[in-house]
Homo-oligomer: 481 residues x 2
Amino acid sequence: MVMQTKQIRLTDELIQELNMLVDVGMYSSISEAIRDSVRRLVTGREAPIKNLPEKTEKTIQKLDKEVSKQFQKAKGTSDFYPEDMEQRKTIFRKFMKTAENYNFKQIEAPAFENTNLLTVKQGQEIRDQIFIIEKKGSEELGLRFDITVSATRMFIEKQKELPKPVKWFYLTRMWRYERPQTGRLREFYQYGVELFGSDKPEADAEILNLLIDSLQSLGLTSKDFFIKINNRKLLEGLLLDIVNKDIINDVIRIIDKRSKLSDIEFLNELKKLDLDDEKIAKITSTLNITNIKEIKTSDLNEEAENGLNEIKAILNLLKSRKEFIQVDLSTARGLAYYTGTVFECFDKEEKFRAIAGGGRYDKMVEQFKGEPTAATGFGLGYSTLTLLLKEKDLLPKINLAPDIYIITIGDVKQQALELATKLREKNRVDVDLSERNLRNQFKYANSIKAKKTIVLGENEIKQGSYKIKDMKTGKEEEVKL
Amino acid sequence: MVMQTKQIRLTDELIQELNMLVDVGMYSSISEAIRDSVRRLVTGREAPIKNLPEKTEKTIQKLDKEVSKQFQKAKGTSDFYPEDMEQRKTIFRKFMKTAENYNFKQIEAPAFENTNLLTVKQGQEIRDQIFIIEKKGSEELGLRFDITVSATRMFIEKQKELPKPVKWFYLTRMWRYERPQTGRLREFYQYGVELFGSDKPEADAEILNLLIDSLQSLGLTSKDFFIKINNRKLLEGLLLDIVNKDIINDVIRIIDKRSKLSDIEFLNELKKLDLDDEKIAKITSTLNITNIKEIKTSDLNEEAENGLNEIKAILNLLKSRKEFIQVDLSTARGLAYYTGTVFECFDKEEKFRAIAGGGRYDKMVEQFKGEPTAATGFGLGYSTLTLLLKEKDLLPKINLAPDIYIITIGDVKQQALELATKLREKNRVDVDLSERNLRNQFKYANSIKAKKTIVLGENEIKQGSYKIKDMKTGKEEEVKL
């Protein structure tokens, strides 16, 4: 049964009345009450409600519980306090530098897009995972769950004037409504790239090189992570020799979730498609290929051959990166829009979810009503990445301590702020803003781990000089005001 | 009449039926149809609908129009293409550096918060300006329209452990549903600070200094901008000597929008409050005070006296910034939560909206159920700022050209990518990814304004060296591979 969501503004009184209908158990929810009222309007049945009871105790308790939840952050989101923020900034700065040196250019897109745009590539099922915004004007908007959609829209808008290939990267956040899990939140930050306008293996090699160099810039090595690479044409071509075309998408969907299934579950899922044991055995042995030399090239169909050539070309371009790359025929990347190369990046022990994933989506620009344009890209999740960095003890060391703290004695506040302003041209400087006594100012300077302190009083002003003290060595230096 | 918004899922069939009721003119919209159906359910009236006509041509046309809108960005939002992004990054980096040197620390908060949290400080009227997210779980969420709310929630969560004062800044975006105008979009970027835990004038002076230094870091001077400063206690105290307490908030609301009204309109608004000409004259002359020495200190009430002392203390601390600051009794900052110092920053000619605004909100932490804590802060909008920078020709000069472009001849793609990787450790390097011929590679290198080019062919590989050419001077240099 196809359903649509509608928004409706009702007066408080009406809502109260509906609440009572729910309280007396006539309807399970206000929504159900409204739905029934619409049915009644359309079918013309007479409404039976006569006398309504008072609001119950239960409703009041519910309300109280709601209020206590009001002042917490939304489920599945993170607050970035200064240390969290500095950590993300440090990591993202390294990604930014690496991507810039690859001559990728940073872009940003609005947080929300028309829901029709968001759903065009993955269909209406994705709607359940979109934070949809209540309609106020004529637009129905939703928070974007990736940026490929927005980047494609942006590319199409300037498709004619931009020199191709277009190489863009982003460091931004997205939103997805799902059950929050480790390394997977409802609001999440991603690093990623899109490369529009080249269908050549060089383009795929370029983004794989960038992914590897980006992770290396954080201190990760081939001992810590690797990339599983596959090609959708190759996989589909090989599968077409085993199963019928009409169930190929179902088979790929099952392959895509294999890592989440036990072997038995995986076989059972395939059996549900009415595949016999021989075919299942063939599928399994195809998926177990980790070296393209195992593939017999003599009797390949055209699609498989094209795919094989593509993956070979990429592997050849990435010869010097061999230790990072592993062919894996079972890497499918379920999303319907991948057309060729697909890859996923994991920690070496595969303890965590994929750190990054990507591939070619040569049909999307066309599907979005642009001039047909090949495209490839990847996305990398900040949350899973930090789990790996933490395990490898590679999280950046954060130091937010100020260089100098100015301690004041007596009525020299104005002069202290002026001195601070001067020193702030080149240093991180803090100064008493709370009119604390001398002892408490020293205590505070210690608590924020100030590297140096200056004591400024009327004497210093008169003398026209002050002492700056290194808090570690205890050394003092005289400086002119 | 207090209204609430409800979401309701209906089957396609029901929606179709409702559409027909709209098409035949029985209701003005589906919403109206649903509302009426609820009224009928509650009041028990009989539904009159009998025979329904066919779907009309009009509906189909409407649908077509909707589809053509699908692939555009949402109204009132901006795409940041590489040049736009680089401009914002350059400006925000300067703000970041300045704020860090003031020992403020960057934070980030989720894009959405519980709507109850969002509305607690400004009341339900603000709801109309919030992008509200359709409820999927038990939470009702909305996109935040400022970050003060989120920062206050975050402060309260760690209130006990954080050394006070807490000095935070942010560079982030917010969302507000309103008619898009010049310098005012539905998605907008802000720079701002919050300082929790000091009720002293030093804290206000600190953020005003920071605001001034931040704008100066972009090349703006006292010839370009100035800050109007006022104190809510002073204003309210002075007004209390003229009008009754019960209309004081109304008077301040009118004062707050004075800049948008003509003199006549302003007077008429005040007259609507039943104020006589003498009182109105007194109000006007109070608002025209631009020097605190004009205020007679002899007969001030307590509130006005407190406010006057606060503003005096701040002006004294900011002596050396005199040329940036102007007392203006008419600066009210309508928002109900300001408690003391208030200020707004404008371009010198007041051609644009306020560039920044802020002040003290000493009651908010308490209102959010935290331990009572004084607080002050400001917010600065990126959009209006860029209008001013543009006019003053101070927008950062953007150069996104790569340092080196590698042109390839023959089958040396793999070696070219490896050379690129090496050079990318220290340079912005691009390389042919489209297998273009030599002529087109040169053309492309020109179109992206590469500073230097390298030609790499089989000869160069054999010789183990290549030439790097400066595209401006034409000078070539031989480099070992």
